[in-house]
């Protein structure tokens, strides 16, 4: 009940202004994300490494900054790709590149540094190569372990509700 009386004290106008500020923060964050996606030509320019298949270079929880661009993929680059039917992006190194000269079409084979076999076992059945358009981006920079929070929230979903709950409680009772 004290919440309602507090709200009445502020007045409808200031509540609306607060709502508007909140919305504009949200939308500018969204715009920055989408702008970055356009600039890097990548649907997801910042990803978190989920598996240990690229150890010791990249470990679980590292944040990777990707830049896709339009140029052909070069061998030895570490790329993030997402197969057409599978929802999970994979970070591995490109081991083989064959580029057709007329169409510019590329046939790529990838392998995780920590895996002994190449990725053909991970591809869709019958698929021996991946194409340029399945690549989300090449790894251009990274920050180690900065994404561990995302991994914990994925592994322990109740953490998400705890975090959300704490934020709600803090925002309701913190503004005095």
């Amino acid at each position: 009940m004290e919440l309602l009386s507090q709200a009445k004290k502020w007045g409808v106008r200031s509540l609306l202004i607060q709502g508007l500020t909140f919305l504009s923060v949200l939308t500018s964050a969204f715009m920055i994300w989408k702008g970055l996606s356009l600039f890097t030509n990548s649907e997801s320019p910042v990803v978190v490494v989920l598996s240990g298949s690229m150890k010791p270079a990249y470990d679980r929880g590292d944040i990777l900054f990707l830049h896709n661009g339009f140029s052909p993929i070069e061998v030895g680059e570490v790329v993030v790709y997402k197969l057409n039917e599978k929802p999970i992006p994979i970070v591995h190194r490109v081991m083989k590149v064959h580029t057709e000269n007329e169409s510019g079409k590329q046939y790529l084979l990838t392998k995780g540094d920590n895996n002994s076999a190449d990725d053909r076992g991970l591809y869709n059945p019958g698929q021996t190569w991946i194409q340029r358009d399945e690549i989300i981006g090449r790894v251009k920079g990274f920050v180690p372990y900065a994404g561990m929070g995302t991994i914990w929230m994925n592994d322990y979903p109740y953490l998400k509700t705890v975090l959300l709950g704490t934020l709600c409680v803090m925002s309701l009772f913190g503004g005095d």
Binding site: A57, V75, V78, E100, P144
Partner: protein, 182 residues
């Protein structure tokens, strides 16, 4: 005056800004740290065979030509280790042009070098770690083949950058005829 949350909040936002500035400075300066690695690759032998099933993931591998290389490698990469080097990724690629395909690049050997103790490489008569075959089934009409050694440093934090390579020519011969046939 200021409560605990406000103090925590302003400390956190200052820490985040400092971290961002540090990240940018580290990323921008690491590629310019000088290094003088030495490396040399010597190719001894290339043998092409066909008719054996080498790759279980590839149904066409039974009739395709596979090349086997024998090479030496001498390298001193200790100067490439600076404070921001997590590891060095050394790999050798075979590059060639073939009919219909402008670029073909295949990694035939790689190694992860984690510290300066492992950075002096001395390989003798090593073979390729990974299968070397053309996209087509045969190496016929392949031109301008060479072997290139690349060294790629991976930093602890910051931008990935490329450093250092060495190229030697490669000649892929026609396969020897096998009595048992393909």
């Amino acid at each position: 005056m200021y409560n605990l949350f406000q103090r925590l909040g302003s400390i956190t936002s200052l820490a985040m800004s400092m971290f961002m500035a540090l990240l940018i400075l580290i990323s921008a300066t690491t590629p310019f740290i000088p290094s003088n690695p030495t490396h040399e690759v010597t190719l001894h032998d290339v043998k092409t065979t066909t008719g054996r099933m080498v790759d279980p993931a590839d149904r066409t591998s039974r009739s395709a030509e596979y090349a086997r290389l024998t090479f030496d490698l001498d390298a001193d990469l200790t100067s490439m280790f600076n404070w921001n080097t997590k590891l060095l990724f050394a790999y050798i690629t075979a590059d060639f042009e073939s009919p219909g395909f402008d670029t073909n690049r295949i990694v035939v050997w790689d190694r992860i070098i984690r510290n300066t103790r492992q950075a002096k490489l001395r390989l003798r008569k090593n073979h390729n770690k990974y299968f070397l075959r053309n996209y087509a089934k045969t190496f016929e009409n392949v031109r301008n083949a060479n072997l290139t050694l690349h060294i790629n440093p991976v930093p602890y934090l910051g931008i990935m950058y490329d450093k250092s390579m060495t190229t030697i020519p490669l000649d892929i011969p026609r396969p020897e005829k096998r009595a048992s046939g393909a």
